[in-house]
Amino acid sequence: MIISSRKKNEELLQALEGKGKVFLVGCGACATACRSGGEEEVFAMQEWLQSTGRDVTGWVVIDEACHIMRAGRDLRQHRAQVEEADALLVLACGAGVQSMSSSTDQRVIGALDSLFLGNIRRFGQYEEKCSLCGDCILNETAGICPVTNCAKGLLNGPCGGLEEGRCEVDREIDCAWHLIFERLKRQKRPGVFARTVPAKNWGKVRKPGRHKIKS
């Protein structure tokens, strides 16, 4: 899921300057799961906004804020409250914020920072394991992604900063290449070490993203 965290009050106040009436939007998917934009956080935001002297005209938690059509539909159901507001404050990832901004010409303000595609270890502890690079090498690297887990995204083994199997950027973190090496050894196969991996095709990361998958 997409891990997000709430922006600091300071930054929110700046973005909300001159906006006395606010409509709140949360997300029932990722932002609820990582507790940055679920019902609870929407209520907390409402209280905080009121403490700054603002009115909250209404709120909605959309099942999946990244669903553009659903987001549009949910907003329409709250048309009066939305139109009364000076701005929509959206507690969702960047995708969710943009579902809103593509559904209304009202001022849309994002309340969260989107951090990464995260695995959940336990509540509150998320790990980035995949960077959606569009060119997956996991089958050769014993299921450990060097693009994401190596600080430099190296494809042909560790850098010179490797020390006792730890990463040069953070000695608390295992070197991804060390993990790959150890697991491949346990699997008794050379995997990625058997070849020189050519330069990555970053052309597969499409920006602006326009993937359309037909079913």
Binding site: A151, K152, G153, L154, L155, N156, G157, P158, C159, G160, G161, L162, E163, E164, G165, E168, V169, W177, H178, F181, F193, T196, V197, P198, A199, K200, W202
Partner: protein, 285 residues
């Protein structure tokens, strides 16, 4: 043919040293440092080392060429994507730079621009392959070059890194894709250097052992904490600590490591960090 490649081919013990481009455009210190080297075959020009922004090493390397000093241009993957790397390599060749040392580069997080977006579009192995392609007359896209460059391309290795086997597979890959020489990260442990050389010798790539001049126990501790891949063993830190003349002790340590490298390696790469005048003493080892 560069002097470096000739001398390594001749089997003579080779000494390289290094100079950092200035932060700013005042070249006096860097040039007088490079001109002051005695008995050095080639001078490495570092590339935003430690991820601290400085003048382009290509500019300083070209200025050294003009002064008759042979540079080893260091080029990292941290700050340039594949297009910038290739275009800098072509520029280097046009400016008379033949020796290059291809590196991944310290992560930007260590330096003075920690908010910079690290590039790492290529890794050092892939960059070595790119160099071979340029020499063969084509770029990474397979397009022909009008005038192919000629390089003497080397790579870095970390003989003391653990696990050894993992570090060494990268080293083998570098040799396999055409590294013509290795300069090592600073080494302090003769046994580890020996173990590395036993494994590396069959690769047939000459190795210049990295010798770093320790000036004080404080510096040694700083290196251990802040510089990736450098590990000063505790007994040497203690030796520096106990000495009333730590710099002299540091020179002695460097001299001993040089003596060790003479028996094991094709040469040494000296990192004297502003104490270039001590090089003759270090080389007595």
């Amino acid at each position: 043919m560069s002097h470096l490649s000739e001398q390594l081919a001749s089997g003579r013990f080779v000494v390289t040293a290094e100079v950092a481009p200035p932060k700013g455009i005042d070249l006096q210190e860097a040039l007088s440092c490079a001109e002051g080297f005695d008995g050095i075959t080639a001078v490495n020009v570092t590339d935003n080392q430690g991820a601290n922004m400085r003048m382009s090493p290509l500019a300083l390397a070209a200025l050294l060429v003009r002064r008759g000093i042979e540079p080893v241009l260091q080029l990292t993957c941290r700050d340039r994507n594949r297009m910038a790397l290739q275009s800098d390599l072509l520029g280097a060749a046009a400016l008379g730079v033949e020796n290059i040392l291809l590196l991944s580069g310290d992560h930007a997080r260590f330096g003075d621009h920690p908010a910079a977006r690290p590039v790492f579009d290529l890794d050092s192995v892939q960059l070595l392959q790119v160099v071979r392609g340029l020499e063969e007359g084509h770029d990474m896209a397979g397009r022909p070059l009008r005038g192919a460059p000629h390089f003497f391309a080397g790579a870095a290795v970390s003989p003391e890194a653990e696990p050894f086997e993992l570090m060494f597979q990268k080293c083998s890959k570098k040799a396999a894709v055409g590294a013509r020489f290795f300069q090592t990260q600073a080494v302090f442990d003769p046994h580890r250097l020996e173990r590395f050389m036993e494994a590396a010798r069959p690769l047939g790539v000459p190795v210049l052992a990295g010798i770093l001049l320790l000036k004080s126990a404080r510096m040694a501790r700083f290196l251990n904490e802040k510089i990736p891949g450098v590990r000063v063993p505790a007994h040497l830190v203690e030796r520096l600590e106990a000495s009333s003349h730590p710099l002299e002790e540091g020179v002695a340590i460097a001299r001993d490591m040089t003596a060790c490298a003479r028996t094991l390696c094709a040469g040494v790469h000296l990192m004297t960090l502003g104490m270039e005048e001590r090089i003759p003493e270090i080389l007595q080892g």
